[in-house]
Every structure is written in structure tokens, then in C-alpha cells.
């Protein structure tokens, strides 16, 4: 059962809410755990065995690190060293499952991966590392740890949460509240709108163009790339709305994964707004540990004496940044296109890091402000182009195909070809998509101005409030891509 299916939001979730309400507060986490196991069994069947392995490994690793810390066997640096060895073994054991399922296809051995393995593996690593860093204490109840790792709204495609942020609400068994249920369902509706009205309508056109780009000229390919970026954003952020909204109905807060990414000022800022929980995970568990590794510190010191502080302070972060983007690329899959995608952003952000301070100084000197319409428009356009090129390579069949598409956009661009292009979707669907995307832009713009739209709507009088939500419900029913003539489009990020 996937989140965007109506059976999830309007059958499965209400049943859970009723059972949750009927269960005494202190047993509610047990109910959630049973639901998680049932949900996981439904979608992954026998592969749940590997999830159980991950839970046991993580639990034992956490417990061993914790006990080592409280015993007097080792102290100081020896204690740290032994803790790190246990942590290393725990990480390797968890990562090995991910590597076998996800990357063995590179050597011709393919398996069906357990659902959500890429997401819960990252959560196991953060949990074990945080115990080793003493920022959290070890969970003594294996059931509670299993609940944190398998929490049903987030197990398929994140957000990648942290144990420290989740444990209180997840285990407290807080009472359901009318406000949270209505607010959660409002968010689910908006998520369904993005997924069913925008993303699923664009999917056939994107599929067609990226399957045989050689049949199209540069104009159609450029629009196809924009369509894919829009599809991906509407789909992934829409699913996040459904996920975070369904958790909100249970009064459990999940971390946000998107914050109006297309209003970012540069590529680096874009990644602070797009798939936020992956970015912060990479920062805390890849960027900082590599940056603070002793060999790199030595290198930095040596460089300081040779090239001076300004250049030497760039060396270590740049190496760490390389590994961040390498991991980001590889995490998405075994294909070379993903690796290219990671390296693409590494190069861009590296260039930005070098150039931005000089550009800022230049702007200050010549009294050019960020609020200047020309400057902000240029920045938005630059980011739009950067993101769309990146997503085009990300979605392309191969790197060669990506470059051929790019070449066509540059050298074979004829607006006249739009008239005869076969998009794979009819005009009616295109018009619906167009207006839905405009609505998405307006909502994002309002959110960017720090206005909480759901709060604003909830302050309106009842008839207006209901008119807005009914309009959204009927727009999904009447214009959503479902039923006869449409195939159910799987969630893109569930495959990563």
C-alpha cells in the first residue's frame, strides 16, 4: 500500500486513528509497532527479515557502546577508541545489507530490496553514531527502537528523522486532537493534489520523452526536462505532505523535507530546501566527521604554512564536500547518472563557494542589493536552469543520453517543433497541469513569505473554509490522474 493511494488516507489511516483512540495511552506505542509490522509485511513480505536484522544489529551496537561507557574497563582515549570500533562494526553490518541489495546489480547480481532500506539504514547510522557521540542515550527497549525505525508514515521514503527528535512524541501516546486531525488531513489533501493532479499527469509525457529523446528536438527535450523537475518536485513534496500530514493526525511531528526550493538564491541554498533531511544527515555524518579527521587536519596545517590561511581553509571542506556529494549521488542508486548528478552539484557548489564572497563584495561596493528585481530574477533564472540540467541527467537513461539531450537543447532548438510534438498527454490534461502548477507556485510564494496558509484558512468563516477544502477535494476527484485510462504511478523516491 502506497501513501498516495486513496485506501491509505481514507481507509487505513482512519482505522489506525480509531484504534489509537481506543488504546490506553501507555500501550499506544505498542499499537503503532504492530501497525508498522503489519504495514511492512504488506509491502515487503518476507523481506521484513532484513529489517529485523537491522533493528537487532542497531540495538546491540547501541547497548554495547552504552555499557562500555558506563563500565570502568576503559577510560579516556582508550574508551573512545573501543566505542568507535563497535560503532564501525555496527555501521558496516547495516551498510553491508544496503550494499548487497542496492549495488550488487553492478556485478550482475540483482535482488529485490526491502522497502525503505535506504532510509532506515541512514537512521540506524545516525542512532548508533549519536550514542557514540553521547548526544542521545541508548534505547533499552528493542520494541521502541523498532518503532522508531519502522514508523509507518515514513518507512517507505522518509523523511530521515533523528531518534532525539522523535522519541518523545512517538512513545508518549498523546491523545488525538481535533485540530491535529483536521490540519493533518488538510495537508494530506494538498499532497494528493500535487501527486495526482500535477505529477501523475506529467508522468506519461516525461516517460515518453526520456525513453526516446532521439525522436525529439531540443525544444521538446528542454520542456521535457522542466516537466520532469516539476513532476519530481510535485511528487516528492506531495508524498511528504501526505506522510507528514498523516503523522500529524496522530499528533506526532515529522521533520520537514522541503522549504520552497525554487525560491533559493543559489545551488547550495537549494539543497538547504530540497530533501532537507538527507542534506542535514550528510552534513552531520559525512561532512563534519571527514572534516575533523586527523589526517585532513594535518593536511590543512601543512597547507597553511605553504599557501596561507585563505587557501588552506578551503582544502579540508572541499575534500569533505566531495565525499558528501559522492555519497549523495551513490545513495540515489547504482547508475552512473546518479554519480554524475552528485559530482555536478559538487562542482557547482565548489564554484559558488569560491565566487560568492567576491560577488557579494562587488555588489556591496556598487550598491547592488539582493532585493533588486533584476538581480533576484537573474538568480532565480540561473538556479532554474542549473536544477533542470541536473534533473535531466538524473532522469536520463545514461550519461551519454543526457549529453545528447543537452546537445540537442543547445544546437537543435526550434520553437516551431512544439506545434507537431507528440507529448503523450492530451490538451485537456496539459491545461489542468498548467493551472495546477500556477497554484503550486502561488502556495509556495505565500509560504516563502512566512504565511502559514492552513492557519490563515482556519481563521476564515466556516462557509469560506469549507468552500476552499471542498474545491480542493473536487479538483482532485474531477481532475486527478486516476481511474480508467490512467495507470497508477509509483512513488519515485520509494525506489531509492
Amino acid at each position: 500500500m502506497e501513501y498516495h493511494l486513496l485506501t491509505y488516507s481514507f481507509l487505513f489511516l482512519p482505522i489506525i486513528l480509531i484504534l489509537y483512540k481506543l488504546t490506553p495511552s501507555k500501550f499506544r506505542w505498542c499499537l503503532l509497532l504492530v501497525v508498522d509490522i503489519a504495514f511492512y509485511l504488506m509491502i515487503s513480505k518476507a523481506l521484513i527479515v532484513f529489517f529485523i536484522f537491522a533493528v537487532v544489529i542497531t540495538y546491540c551496537t547501541g547497548l554495547m557502546i552504552d555499557r562500555l561507557g558506563s563500565s570502568n574497563k576503559y577510560t579516556g582515549k582508550m574508551l573512545k577508541k573501543h566505542k568507535r570500533i563497535i560503532l564501525f562494526i555496527g555501521i558496516i553490518l547495516n551498510l553491508s545489507m544496503l550494499i548487497v541489495f542496492k549495488y550488487f546489480k553492478l556485478i550482475g547480481i540483482s535482488f529485490i530490496a526491502p522497502i525503505g532500506i535506504s532510509y532506515y539504514t541512514l537512521q540506524t547510522i545516525s542512532y548508533m553514531t549519536d550514542i557514540c557521540r553521547r548526544t542521545i542515550s541508548c534505547e533499552q527497549n528493542i520494541g521502541k527502537l523498532a518503532l522508531y525505525l519502522s514508523y509507518f508514515p515514513q518507512v517507505i521514503e522518509g523523511p530521515i528523522s533523528r531518534y532525539s527528535n522523535m522519541k518523545n512524541e512517538l512513545f508518549a501516546g498523546k491523545d488525538l486532537s481535533y485540530t491535529n486531525i483536521t490540519s493533518g488531513y488538510q495537508r494530506i489533501l494538498w499532497g494528493l493534489f500535487k501527486k495526482m493532479v500535477i505529477a501523475d499527469h506529467l508522468a506519461p509525457a516525461v516517460y515518453k520523452i526520456f525513453l526516446h529523446p532521439e525522436n525529439y528536438d531540443g525544444t521538446v527535450i528542454a520542456i521535457g526536462a522542466i516537466m520532469f523537475t516539476t513532476q519530481l518536485y510535485a511528487e516528492f513534496s506531495g508524498c511528504m505532505d501526505i506522510i507528514i500530514g498523516s503523522s500529524e493526525t496522530l499528533s506526532i511531528t515529522l521533520p520537514e523535507n522541503f522549504r520552497q526550493p525554487f525560491f533559493a538564491k543559489n545551488a547550495s541554498d537549494f539543497w538547504h530546501r530540497w530533501h532537507i533531511t538527507l542534506g542535514t544527515w550528510l552534513k552531520d555524518y559525512i561532512f563534519y566527521p571527514i572534516s575533523l579527521a586527523k589526517p585532513l587536519k594535518k593536511l590543512s596545517k601543512k597547507a597553511k604554512t605553504i599557501v596561507g590561511i585563505n587557501i588552506s581553509k578551503m582544502i579540508v571542506p572541499t575534500i569533505a564536500l566531495f565525499f558528501v556529494w559522492l555519497t549523495n549521488g551513490i545513495w540515489h542508486g547504482a547508475g552512473l547518472t546518479y554519480l554524475f548528478y552528485g559530482m555536478y552539484y559538487f562542482v557547482l557548489i565548489f564554484i559558488e563557494t569560491i565566487c560568492e564572497p567576491h560577488i557579494e563584495k562587488f555588489c556591496q561596493k556598487h550598491s547592488i542589493y539582493e532585493s533588486n528585481l533584476l538581480i533576484s530574477s537573474f538568480r532565480a533564472l540561473k538556479l532554474f536552469v542549473i536544477v533542470n540540467i541536473g534533473e535531466m541527467f538524473f532522469r536520463a537513461k545514461s550519461i551519454t543520453s543526457g549529453f545528447n539531450m543537452f546537445k540537442k537543447i543547445i544546437f537543435d532548438f526550434h520553437l516551431s517543433s512544439l506545434k507537431d510534438a507528440n507529448w503523450g498527454i492530451d490538451k485537456y490534461d496539459m491545461i489542468i497541469c498548467f493551472f495546477a502548477i500556477i497554484l503550486l507556485f502561488i502556495v509556495d510564494f505565500i509560504h516563502e513569505k512566512n504565511i502559514k496558509l492552513r492557519d490563515v484558512i482556519s481563521n476564515y468563516k466556516l462557509p469560506i473554509r469549507w468552500a476552499i477544502w471542498y474545491a480542493l477535494i473536487f479538483s482532485i476527484i474531477l481532475t486527478g490522474a486516476y481511474g480508467a485510462g490512467y495507470t497508477v504511478i509509483d512513488m519515485i523516491y520509494a525506489a531509492y
Binding site: R133, D284, Y288, S291, L292, K297
Partner: protein
Amino acid sequence: MDELIEILEEILPCEDVVNCTTLIDDHILSSFDILSLVSDIEDSFDVDISPAELIPENFNSANALWNMICRLREEC
């Protein structure tokens, strides 16, 4: 403390590092500066700064940094 101020002044030559309490909040210290600062503090004060310490509360001012150094020294 004087040694810490010297380190900060070397990294941020144009800032009032003694009185500033928003080094992170106002983006005065970049992530690159933070890493450089960590390296210098570790050398000068013989402490080990783990990634868990890299939070704004520890880096917003010279005082916050000094408190972190003192705490890490006690833990050693």
C-alpha cells in the same frame, strides 16, 4: 582567553570578535571558518572537538567558545 581571541582575530580580521555574540546567527563564521577554528583550538588547547560539539550555541561568541574549551578540558 587571549589566545582564543588571537585565533579568532586571525580568522576574522575585520570583526569585533570580543563582543560579538552572533558569530553563527549572523553568518559571520562560515562553515569553512568553523573548521579552521576547530583545528586551531584543538592545537592550542589540547582538546578534541567532536562533530557533536559543532552546534551554534558553542560557536556564537568568544565566551561560548571559551566555555566549550573549559568543559572539554575538564572531560579530558
